[in-house]
Symmetry: D3
Subunit: 129 residues, 6 copies
């Protein structure tokens, strides 16, 4: 729930993007070789391989939803929108997550649906890198 309950929810996605970017830079500053390699491996997992990046982002979204991580859901929604998935397709993927993960996923479904709306509303601003 948390910041979802803000009186000004339109800023939620932007705040997440800037916090994520700032802290990713701080984590990089730590200069831990294992952590840096993990971050590169994480990025590489969604690059073109036997599967295309668009499909992989949808896999990342559903994995994040069933594991109930709002930040991960928001990150992958940003990527999914950029990759060209429509709202209807994203909702259909979230339905798979809902059935696999059960009603405990519902708060994250509400969060995700709001995030999609916020991302679409802010399309003129540049998304998270």
């Amino acid at each position: 729930m948390d910041s979802d309950n803000d009186t000004n929810p339109s800023n939620r996605i932007n705040e997440f993007r800037s916090y994520r970017q700032r802290m990713n830079e701080r984590v990089a500053d730590i200069d831990h070789l294992g952590i840096k390699r993990f971050f590169r491996l994480d990025s590489a997992a969604y690059e073109s391989g036997a599967l295309d990046p668009k499909t992989k982002e949808l896999l990342g979204l559903v994995a994040s939803a069933v594991l109930r991580c709002n930040d991960c859901v928001d990150y992958h929604l940003d990527q999914c929108v950029q990759a060209g998935w429509s709202d209807e397709e994203l909702h259909d993927a979230l339905n798979v997550a809902l059935v696999v993960g059960g009603s405990i996923v519902i708060p994250h479904l509400r969060h995700a649906v709001e995030s999609i709306d916020l991302i679409r509303a802010g399309d003129l601003t540049s998304p998270a890198e």
Copy 2:
């Protein structure tokens, strides 16, 4: 933690109720047949069957607590209070959740105990539908 740390915690339950209602309506607007059916199935699971609704809400509370979902805990606490469970009974159920789920449940126990207090304090306002 999050909104638990607010300087004005007395609004936390009300904010959750209105956010939940608003976003449930937005989710319904999406008009995804699978998602709508899931929401109906979710409601039906707590209706009278071999077990009575009062017992089922307590099952929902403990399931939510061990799965560590504050929003789900708050929703089922609202229902449990309406169903007539006393504070002592709710605390005893939360103890089962604590022993099954371990110390990782403690932040959610603190949240739940505060929520019970807030729900009782706001008894004059109508609870979430």
Copy 3:
């Protein structure tokens, strides 16, 4: 799945009971004060308090099912049958677990339904202490 796939499934519950008893004794032999206290606290959580033991065992069953632990499900099913819950009531409780936890709970639902059948079939043998 595992031993569910045995050609002689009728022994599954009995094997679990004897393995559980034997290893609980081995764990007690270790004589770790914290572990021994945890085991006592675990037993005490299901004893009479604000809630009665029968209700608490049903809470333990649903918590075990959504956390997807077959051994814990079997243990609480043994206790629930002894406490007097009917098959219909147990199935209704498992339905709450299914809706909360999603399709990922289905293998444990199959396991639990089989366990209930096996426990009822073996009613003449003494259940786990």
Copy 4:
């Protein structure tokens, strides 16, 4: 691990398919309306919608892998092979699950890789319905 360690692993998939079918029939016999509706909703989630069934099965596979459910992984692998995903594509999807879910997913990756091999080896036998 369990039956993965069998001296005759080639039967593992077939045993799972027959156990799953037998127990699904037993669960249907229980005749619990909520459970029956959940099973239908579960099947419907993978049928054609905004997303095609082939994509949805891959989503189901990755969700099952990060939630670490071997039975669910085997079921969705059966469906994914039928839907026409190649080994390389399945391995690439499992890599997303591995990165999202971490090394705790490795035992399920080993299981899944073996299951793919077993399913391909048994292609002449009819898969689970």
Copy 5:
């Protein structure tokens, strides 16, 4: 994310400490014997035994990180700093948590790295008891 996104993050740790202390007192007021015993058992688990308290706090930190509980992470970070672990050692422990738990742990890694910085910056104030 939540309070991580605050414009004044320097207060996040202090707010958590005071909320935790206040609600632990409220939980103690409930006077539920099982809950009180669980809290004592929880404290005792980190006291000197076969392992020293410093090592145990690091175990508690990694357990909290892979189970993805920010409040638990913050509590154990406070204890770990008091026990004398350096930043480099804490980051190395968090790397183990990252590899075991996967990218789903990354939001909690960002949170933990920020918490370490905040705890060090506030060293003149007394940490949580």
Copy 6:
């Protein structure tokens, strides 16, 4: 439970070691760059860094126990015994996992205690590489 219930449990650890080695080789044969890099990153996480390998293996054990993965527990127990941790120290670490993770960890505690006994009994045979 599963193979824990075998009439000849003394082979359980050896069977796990050989299955793990055989399937790790099969996974390597797949030749997926991301998966291979993940396996190397996983190994590297336990090598000497700011923390020594002995401490890191204990962190891996506790992370595996609270995430309830028997295979991961067995692997890290093998490594912990090789690293020189005593039974008393391993039991003390498992107690931390039990308190953090709750009674749902108990089946894995029983498994781990049996695994330690089996590993010690088979000390003359070479452990898993």
